[in-house]
């Protein structure tokens, strides 16, 4: 029951740090399914997504001290992941081409198109939805240009807030909103094209 010697204090500090580190790693690993889900749709193939997730965790575990406890760990991991993705040069891309379609097509467009292609009179919305196959959805999303897809994947697939998506991608929140809006329209126009080819 005495004053701690410097060594005792030091070893207590080390033990504390070790515990914090274990906790950090456990929490990060618990989020890996969610991190992978987003990664898989940010890049083109399963292999790329797996590499990217693995590198993300390697870097996260190396730089765990930079994480501020109590802040959003999932967003922190995704920030690392998107930076790694940029480093790999995958995003060297022209400014996304403006399609003539969006802007003119309203938000009811996809429903109207699918419904008109359904034989039934006045079908319910589940029947209309069933016209979209899983493969066509995966392809339609992959065909959305990168800049729009990144936002779409983070917000609509990863369920990140606008603010988190802005931080992860290092773009203003207004840009997140406009890209999300455009991205959803492009996705719906792709879906309509795949389900009901013109």
């Amino acid at each position: 029951m005495s004053e701690s010697t410097p060594t005792a204090a030091e070893s207590r500090r080390l033990a504390q740090e070790a515990r914090a580190r274990v906790r950090f790693e456990e929490e990060a690993l618990e989020l890996s399914d969610q991190v992978y889900r987003v990664a898989r749709r940010l890049v083109g193939s399963r292999e790329e997504a797996e590499d990217l997730v693995q590198q993300t965790y390697e870097r996260a575990f190396r730089s765990w001290r930079q994480f501020t406890p109590g802040t959003n760990l999932r967003a922190w991991l995704l920030r690392i992941l998107t930076n790694l993705n940029i480093d790999r040069g995958r995003r060297v891309q022209r400014t996304p081409q403006t399609t003539t379609l969006d802007g003119e097509l309203g938000d009811y467009f996809l429903y109207n198109k699918l419904e008109s292609a359904t034989a039934e009179q006045n079908p319910d919305e589940e029947r209309v939805l069933e016209r979209l196959s899983q493969d066509s959805i995966v392809d339609a999303l992959a065909d959305v240009p990168h800049d729009f897809r990144d936002v779409l994947v983070l917000v609509d697939i990863g369920e990140f807030s606008y603010a988190d998506a802005a931080q992860i991608l290092d773009i203003p929140i207004g840009t997140v909103m406009s890209r999300l809006h455009r991205g959803r329209r492009i996705l719906k126009s792709n879906l309509a094209e795949k389900a009901v080819p013109t």
Partner: protein
């Protein structure tokens, strides 16, 4: 100029589902949806579509990758 109420409702759909409308706008949209099955159906479709897309594009992580990530942990001293 008087705007078509269904067009107005269509414009409010995304922000409505995102929860970014003001209280007054939410009320306006809901009042319209109560009386308009045409728009109501399209709102329900959109809500289901978002969920449907999320599920359709979700691919489970492989057990191999999961094991690789777990192996990155710092060994306990």
């Amino acid at each position: 100029m008087i705007e078509d109420p269904c067009e107005r409702c269509e414009e409010m759909m995304q922000p409505y589902l995102d929860g970014t409308l003001s209280d007054a706008e939410v009320l306006e949209a809901e009042r319209h949806l109560e009386g308009c099955t045409w728009c109501a159906k399209r709102y329900r479709f959109e809500e289901r579509l978002r969920h449907y897309v999320r599920v359709a594009v979700t691919e489970p992580m492989s057990a191999e990758l999961k094991a690789k990530l777990a192996a990155l942990r710092t060994p306990l001293a």
